[in-house]
Amino acid sequence: MDFGSINPVVLIASLMVAATPILLAAIGELVVEKAGVLNLGVEGMMIVGAVSGFAAAVTTGSPILGMLAAIVAGAAVSLIFALLTQVLMANQVASGLALTLFGLGFSALLGQSYVGIVPPRTEKLNFGFLSDLPVVGRILFGHDILVYVSLFLVAAVWYWLNYTRGGRVLRAVGENHDSAHALGYKVKRVRILAILFGGACAGLGGAYLSLVRVPQWTEGMTAGAGWIALALVVFASWKPWRVLAGAYLFGGIMVLQLNLQAAGYRIPVEYLAMSPYIITILVLVVMSSNRTRRTLAAPGSLGRSFHAAG
């Protein structure tokens, strides 16, 4: 096949943009799952973030304020989940699914008057002469702030989980909540904070879709990105750097297939459109196929409600 019409530098630069929403959502969900909570409401939190961020940015004229609003909105929606699962002890799977359905409907309601509006432009960061360097400039120094924020978050989460006391406590809570409780850690508090962080990240990821990647508001615009983020966390064996690799793989194939579509290759569009999902999952399944390693990586208390005894 002839890839000549596709510029690899542009491809890499745009795959980073395409991957950022799911990367943000996935890194947030990774922290939630490491704390032992399975929140299937990522899609719902993302789209509420998308619409809230969009509305705030259009109203104030500032994309940064829009993103802050999306963080708050995502966290607020996740608080519903936290209330249901941590206080009222509802089933996590059912609550998460309900949250997604709620988010999709609620965002459509909120977004009715914003359809067809163009949001304020999110500027790329200016690195001076660095941005003008060939190849490197475009890939490393040609992005808006959120791309860097998302990369920073991956590094920060990785460092925090593995090398700080707080991260160790969070992993302990997710690994065995009864033991953590016996040692005197506040299981519910840790989990609620983790859920809020996951909500904030998902909200931010959603806002990136509506403010930068697309950029406009349409109903149901997340189109399964939240589910891909969830799948990424599992297949990345709950490891931050693998989440990054998986997200960029997904973004890369997404961009590539769009380019192929545009270049008019005679592959039916439907196959191209499904390819990012299939290939990402295939690759991650192969990477995590070692059975014992995968079981080791899954937090021991994932998805189980915690009832303090005594």
């Binding site: 160790r168 065995n176 009864d178 033991s179 040692l183 005197g184 850690y185 079981t295 005594g310």
Partner: protein
Amino acid sequence: MTPPLLSIQGLTKVYPGVVANKDVTFDIGEGEVHALLGENGAGKSTLVKAIYGLIRPNEGTMLWRGQPYAPNAPAQARATGVAMVFQHFSLFDAMDVAENVALGMDNPPPIRELAARITEVSNNYGLPLDPSRMVGDLSAGERQRVEIIRCLLQNPQLLIMDEPTSVLTPQEVEILFRTLRQLRAEGRSILYISHKLEEIRSLCENATVLRLGKVVGRADPRQESARSLAEMMVGQTLHTPSRPAAQPGKMLLQVTDLSVASPSAFGTSLKSVSLAVRAGEILGIGGVAGNGQDELLGALSGEIRANAEAVRMAGEPVGQFGPNARRAMGLLCAPEERLGHAAAPDMSLTENALLTGAWREKLVTRGFVNWGKARGFAEKVIERFDVRTPGPWVAARALSGGNLQKFVIGREILQRPSVLVVNQPTWGVDASAAASIRQALLDLAQAGAAVVVISQDLDEILEVADNFAALNGGKLSAPRPVQGLTMDQIGLMLGGAETGETDVAA
């Protein structure tokens, strides 16, 4: 006179509907090993949770060296000088030893420094431990070392140990006791909870006996016999299971060269296991938890399939059959995990009786459940095995562990099995109920069944079994007659020594 290290005065803790502790008063002196004795449900755990700050008592006071002591959280208890080794370990499988230790400390040093201190302290106390190993890969004895070292690093004055020896081999118990005596020599106090009376007699100077939340006796265990202590605990005369000698009959269960992979990641695969049990015989299988017990039960019950020839029942190959086919032939099993394996927690006792009794008790006709008959069967189990419950409509989850255990064992025994396999038949059951379960197993063998008892409680095996075999790393030792077997030989068998020679260098 100096005040005692910890003085507990009139402590009462009430849960909705239950009085867990009522007016409990006792003292623990400096450098004293104090035993807390009592049956399951006597209120021992509640009491130590109050001392460790996990729960707050409703009434009563505690004095620490004469000063008021009322911890709100474990961190406060640890700061005062109280440390606790839990019965069910408070460890994290997917983390290494150093991380596990760090999680139990309030101000842990950096991991590398901590690892060096773990190595140092563990060698000082004769409990070698590699700080970089994953806890999920450790044996039960090693896991307990992690707990103990976690406590010792905080330099505690009072060490609480909740049933520390229930999962250890006799040799590991010896090592533990040496460490505990060393701690006492250093002037530290130990509150030792156990129902193994021989251990308490060899270790403790003082004992407080709890029954139904109240202090019913104090004793110097060195002056008492194990039997008198046990009778203080249960408040009645104990009935020791009796066993008339029986002639073994025909071969009922024969396992030949059985190797199966474990279905779980942290499990142990069975490696070439062979055993044979005759009618009227009880084979006891000992071993430290996690050496293939669950897998052996699964392979015998039919949950794990093997090739047909590997398992034979009265000569018939059954290895390829699932549990229902084996049940129909008379091979019944009672697994260790009560909630979720032996019984469905949210189903009523009637439904649970139906789950395994459907075939042999003919509770199902043409695909329809005969509920009247199922309820009758459940009521029979409840009555014959003295299960304390309002009735068969109660959910299995609502029963205490001991009562549910009586129910699941009774349910199998009343189906008149020709082969019965039980795993940990008296786990968490109080002394008198344990005695009646053991008696029921003996009666069953007497009536001509072959019984396999898998247990970590060696005293239990010695009490009921005719032959003893040990599981170690998925391998089963050759069975030996229980009569004349010494604890040292058993320890060697559990440790995997094939020959079982009599001279022990311990």
